[in-house]
Symmetry: C2
Subunit: 387 residues, 2 copies
């Protein structure tokens, strides 16, 4: 392993651990990571040392009150960091089929760079589960979001749109809730792939009734979260998760939303990020369409009624029907070595790591990427090359 | 009667007769009227003389084919003019409670001037039935249009909007068809006034089932048409009528419309005339909302879901709730004399004409305007001043 690769791995490992101590999208943490690197920040936290720079937050007044608020935040993270077992976190994740993707990794979605602007609440790293490749799935994608307590009309329209988009090789990105999210994923599964963005750990299966759907998505698509295994969802997590749904896609369609629906929060993020904002109209007599009509009336959302309308908004002219680009990637030496170590009839991760002379984590991440590209696949004994 | 008043009356009388020979909105007739005046044009037609100017039509190629086409048109009008009995036309109309309103009359709606632009198919005169004053009713108005074969959803929304608009002192303008038109008028009647724009003579009651509704509208609002008594509607009349609905109002709302609905023709006129164009969304699964969604998607129509949304588009800021301005008109001498000749207990039109020393037609028109202003009203013996 080169020095650079080792550094990158240490950075990714530190970022993975940081997901267990700091909330997703924390602005100050983003600043610290940009300035000192994740490995350094993590080391200081674990050692219980003070923050590497005078605490201040982008855009926030830098008074003594603010400083002491950030000091308390650092102390809280530090206390949590002391309880994190990095190897355990990574091996538990690997066992649950969950890999960690850090900024700069081949699977990191380029669109997330739009969150790097001030106030953009950048993502510090993503947990990913499933055989799809997150970056490639998002290239030609659209977010379909809407109410949890959707009407039959809303679920019908979500399913029609999602199926139509999947048929047109557009990947559907949504949350994991009942209602519009579930209807969209289920229909898209029938003709293509989906990306589920969760506000909890990817082993948590929240809501419970969607465990089967999530397992199905993982077979060809991916589930994504900024929170580590075993994290149960808390209310603010859904809002911070919504920015990710908007950021991963070139456009967001709100299928059905009440006046205060969380889908409008996703819509606001899409508008902020200059993504196409679309809304499906519905009966003006339906409380669950009020949010969509507000988007049409006051937010200049585009009125969309079918998959073709959506494709016209998000797919550049001339690219219709092209399908997502394939990963016939120029693999780096480490990943190539891992691929060469995967036998036809299959082997466990530890065996492959030993054969490729890599670390367990590095091998896990490489296998995840290879699986996403369809170059290796899961089998009863671990991993094998596809028939 | 002054020379000027006599000239105006002759012009109005000629225009009334012209509605019986030429189609509404005829571009060439509009040119001839502007250049030679209606009395001269009518006289030439009746006398069977050639058109007063070399036949050519605004914007049309002036080749020999075009010229002979216009000559044939003139000959057709001339033949019809020979069969028109002007006194009979006016007295039949008066008997049916129908007055003629010519450009420049106090009741002529100012907004129709927007049709005077080239290609605008200006109106040559309007037949009006009912006690409302057309000009004043249109000042604070909105067109509500939509499909004849409306769904229960569409009729419900039309009624809700119309009632809400009437409550806010906004006059509803629409056609006279079943479906959206009828639902809108009926609901608006409950709280305010409406203007029915018909494509047939105002005594024809088309469709038959709306005879009662039209009688009800006439009690406080008005019915309008460019076609004389006894004219039955022909297909092209509906399209030319639609421009009038759009032109009379500061904005048009399409409540429900299929892909090829006539309401989209009204919407196109509204857009051409720079009027506010609004559409009510509906279920994307409904064929009767497809037209509305096309307007929202491709025509930049404003998405409206309630009367307040509509008022925000058509009523200038600061004028909300002001109500239509009242006619405390500075009456001209002739009209004042007619008003002074109307007894408390009522008298017939001929009696009033004799007492005011005016012509029968002039008195009829004056009475119509006075009724519109609420200064006289119908009674069993003819006309009286209100209690």
């Amino acid at each position: 392993m080169t020095v650079r690769a080792a550094e990158e791995e240490a950075d990714a490992r530190a970022r993975a651990c940081l997901t267990a101590v700091a909330p997703p999208g924390d602005l100050w943490l983003g600043e610290l990571l940009a300035e000192y690197g994740a490995a350094r920040v993590w080391a200081e936290l674990v050692a219980g040392r003070p923050a590497p720079s005078a605490p201040h937050e982008e855009g926030a007044p830098n008074g003594p009150e603010e400083a002491s608020r950030l000091e308390r935040r650092w102390a809280r993270w530090s206390a949590r960091a002391g309880r994190v077992d990095p190897d355990g976190l990574l091996s538990d994740s690997a066992e649950a089929g969950i890999r960690f993707v850090a900024p700069g990794d081949p699977e990191w979605p380029g669109r997330l760079e739009s969150l790097d602007l001030p106030g953009g609440r950048r993502s510090h790293g993503l947990w990913v589960r499933g055989r799809g490749d997150l970056r490639h799935l998002c290239l030609r994608s659209v977010a379909l979001v809407g109410a949890r307590a959707a009407t039959p009309y809303g679920e019908h329209v979500a399913a029609e749109l999602a199926y139509g988009l999947a048929e047109r090789s557009v990947v559907v990105v949504s949350g994991g809730a009942y209602g519009i999210d579930g209807a969209a994923h289920r229909a898209a599964q029938a003709a293509g792939n989906t990306v589920v963005v969760l506000a909890c750990g990817l082993d948590v299966d929240y809501p419970r009734g969607h465990a089967g759907l999530f397992a199905e998505v993982a077979r060809r698509g991916v589930l994504v979260s900024e929170r580590p295994v075993r994290s149960t969802p808390r209310a603010p997590d859904f809002l911070i998760r919504n920015r990710l749904i908007a950021a991963l896609t070139p456009g967001t369609v709100v299928v059905e939303a009440g006046r205060r629906s969380g889908a409008l929060n996703t819509a606001a993020h899409a508008a902020e990020l200059n993504r196409a904002l679309m809304a499906v109209p519905g009966p003006v007599t339906s409380a669950l369409s009020v949010g969509c009509h507000v988007l049409l009336r006051d937010w200049q959302a585009m009125c969309v009624t079918c998959a073709d309308d959506v494709v016209a908004q998000v797919v550049p002219l001339g690219e219709e029907g092209a399908g997502p680009p394939r990963l016939d990637a120029a693999l780096d030496a480490d990943t190539r070595r891992v691929l060469d170590s995967v036998p036809r009839k299959g082997a466990g991760t530890a065996t492959i790591a030993a054969r490729s002379e890599g670390t367990l984590e590095g091998t896990m991440r490489a296998l995840g990427m290879l699986a996403a590209a369809g170059l290796v696949e899961r089998c009863s004994t671990g991993w094998r090359t596809p028939r």
